[in-house]
Amino acid sequence: MTALEPASAVDIRAVSKSFAGVVAVDGVSLSLGRGEFFSLLGPSGSGKTTLLRILAGLDRPDAGRVLIDGIDMTDMAPYRRPVNLMFQSYALFPHLSVFDNVAFGLRREGLGRDTVRRRVADMLDLLEIGPLAARRPHQLSGGERQRVALARALAKQPSVLLLDEPLAALDRQLRARTQLELARLQRRVGITFILVTHDQEEAMTLSSRIAVMRAGRVVQVDTPRMLYERPASRYVAEFVGTANLFEGKVLGVAGGLIRVATSEGDMLVAADGTSPATGARVAVVVRPEKFRLGPVSAGARHNRVSGRVREVAYFGDHTVYRLQTAAGSAVRLARAHGDAAPPLAMDAAVEAWWPPESGVVLVE
C-alpha cells in the first residue's frame, strides 16, 4: 500500500478460513470506504458470518490479512480492535441493567463516571430507550432488546460496526420500521456498517453496496441497483430478486445487440459492451416487471412470449402472474397496479414482450 492511496475503512485481503477441513471463507478480498453501509448477502453456510467474526477478531483467518483504518489487525485480539459486533442473539448480559449493558464497553476504556453516564445517556436517547435504563434484559421485548444491543455496540464509537442478522429476530412489521431507522442511524453516526444478512430485501433496502457470497466466495460486489439490473451470474440473478431465465445459444452480435436462440424464439438483448462468442451457451435474464403486455408492435418478432395465466399472486401494489408458454416455459410477470389496465384473469391468453435493454445475457 503506497502512502498516496487513501486508507479504506476496511481492507480484506485474500482471507481464507476452514473449520475442521470444511472451507468457510475462500480467498475473499474486499475494500470498504469510510461511512459505507455494506452488506454481506448470502444463504446460510456461505461464509458471511465467519467473515464478520474474522473482522471482529473472534475467529482468526488461516490465510490473508485484515486491515482496519489502514492498520493490520489480523493478529490483534478482539478487545483491542476499534470494531464492535452486534450479535444475532444480541448477547445482552442478563445480570446487568440496560444502562450497565450499554456502559459495559465504556467502563473497560477506563472513562470517568460522568463521561460514562453522559455517553450512555446519549446512546439511550439516540435509540429512544432512555426510559428502559433500569430494566434487565429479560424484562424487555424483542424490539427493545435489539435497540439495547445496538446501543451497546455503538457506545464505544467504533470505526466499524458489525451487525450479524440484526433484524432476524423481529417480526415483519417491526423489521420494516427498524430497517428504515437503522439506515437513518447509520447516516447520523457516520460509522462504517457491515451487515450480514440472508434477506436480499433487507440488504437492498439498507446498503450502499452488497457483496453476494456463495460457498465462501464473493461472487459479485455492487450497488443494489446494479446487482438487480446487471447480475453477473445466474446465481446472483436468482438470489437477488426474481428472475426469468431463458436458456439459449448465441447466434451473433450485431448493431449493439446480441441475438440468442431460445425455446421461446429468438431474443435480442442489448450487448452493453459484452460480445459473447457465437454458439456460446447463455441464459437471458428478464425481470418480471420488465414485461409489457399486449400485441407486439408491428415488425418486431423478438423478445416475445405468449401463454396462459396459471397462477395469480396479489401483493397489493402489484400482482405477479405465472404464465405457461406453448413451448413449456414458466414465465413470471409482474404488473404494477394503479393503471387503468384490468387485472389478468386465470387461464387468460396473454402476449407479452420486453425491450432489448431490459434483458441481460449471462454466459454459462
Partner: protein
C-alpha cells in the same frame, strides 16, 4: 385431574412427614425432657401420677446447659468454622474443575463428570480410611516427602484440624462441582465473545460475566457442602484429634457414651436452628436474583 395431582403431592408430603417432621418432633420432644437412668433414658413430659389433668414436666434446662457450658458452644463454633473452611476449600478447588469440565467438548465432559462421580461408588468410610494411610506419620505422603529429601522428620498431619479439613474438602467436592458445572455449562458462549468485543481481556470477562452469572451455582454448591459438613461425624471422628471435637462427635458422645438423650437432642435442635436461618436467607437472596 385434581385427584391425580393431589395424589402426586400427597406422596412427597407423606414422605416428608414420616421421615422428617415426625423424627424431628420426637427429637425436639426429648430435648425438653430430663435425663434418667431408665428405659427410655428420659423423663416423660406429661406426669399423670397426680390423677386428673396431667402435669407438664418439660423445660428448657438442656438448652440452658448448652449456652452455659463452653464445651458445647466451642464444639458448635468449631463445627461451623470447619464447615465454612471446608466449603471455601471445595469452592476454590471445585470452581476450576467445574469450569474445565463445562468448557470441554461434549465427549470429554462425560468422561470428566464420570471421574468426579466415580468415588461415590466406594463407601465414604473406606475412602476416609484411605486418607489415614496417606496422612499417617509413616503414611504415603510422609514417606514420599522424606524420600525426596524435603523433610527430616515426618510431619504430623493425621489427627489434626488440617486432616479433618482435607477430608471434608475431599468428601464433599462432588457436591460443589456438580451444581457449578450445571450452571457453567448453560452459560451462553456469545456473552463471553460480547465481553471480549467490548474490550474485556479474558480475566476481566471472567470476573464481570462468568463469575456473576455462575453465582446460583456457587450458592447451591456452597449450601450442599456447608450443611452436611456442619454435621459431619465420620471424617472428624477418623481423621481428627482430641482438639477437633465437632458438634456431631459431641452428639454421639452424649447419646451413646453419656446416655444423655435430652442434652444430645437439644444439641441436634440447636444445630438445625443455626443452619435453617442462613439457608432461608440464601433462598430469599436467590429468589430476588432470578
Amino acid at each position: 385431574m385434581t385427584g391425580r395431582r393431589g395424589l402426586l403431592l400427597a406422596l412427597p408430603a407423606a414422605w416428608l412427614a414420616l421421615f422428617c417432621v415426625v423424627p424431628f418432633a420426637i427429637v425436639a420432644t426429648i430435648s425438653l425432657a430430663e435425663s434418667v437412668l431408665a428405659q427410655p433414658p428420659y423423663t416423660p413430659l406429661l406426669d399423670w401420677s397426680g390423677g386428673g389433668l396431667p402435669a407438664w414436666r418439660g423445660g428448657l434446662a438442656n438448652y440452658g446447659l448448652l449456652v452455659e457450658d463452653g464445651l458445647y458452644v466451642g464444639a458448635l463454633a468449631s463445627a461451623l468454622a470447619m464447615a465454612l473452611a471446608g466449603t471455601a476449600g471445595a469452592l476454590l478447588l471445585g470452581y476450576p474443575m467445574a469450569y474445565v469440565i463445562a468448557m470441554a467438548r461434549p465427549g470429554g465432559r462425560a468422561v470428566l463428570l464420570m471421574l468426579v462421580i466415580l468415588p461415590f461408588w466406594t463407601a465414604l468410610l473406606i475412602r476416609v480410611y484411605a486418607w489415614i494411610a496417606i496422612l499417617a506419620n509413616d503414611g504415603l505422603l510422609n514417606r514420599l516427602l522424606s524420600a525426596l529429601g524435603l523433610i527430616e522428620a515426618p510431619l504430623a498431619l493425621l489427627y489434626t484440624p488440617f486432616a479433618v479439613w482435607l477430608g471434608i474438602v475431599y468428601g464433599y467436592l462432588p457436591f460443589m462441582v456438580l451444581p457449578l458445572y450445571a450452571t457453567l455449562v448453560r452459560l451462553d458462549p456469545d456473552l463471553l465473545e460480547a465481553a471480549a468485543d467490548l474490550g474485556c481481556r479474558p480475566l476481566a470477562a471472567f470476573l464481570r460475566v462468568t463469575l456473576p452469572l455462575s453465582m446460583p451455582g456457587v450458592l447451591a454448591g456452597s449450601l450442599l457442602v456447608f450443611i452436611p459438613a456442619a454435621g459431619e461425624f465420620v471424617i472428624p471422628d477418623l481423621l481428627g484429634g482430641p482438639d477437633t471435637l465437632l458438634i456431631a462427635n459431641l452428639m454421639w458422645l452424649e447419646f451413646f457414651t453419656n446416655r444423655d438423650w435430652p442434652l444430645a437432642s437439644a444439641l441436634a435442635v440447636t444445630l438445625l436452628a443455626l443452619l435453617v436461618g442462613p439457608i432461608l436467607l440464601l433462598q430469599r437472596a436467590r429468589g430476588d436474583g432470578a
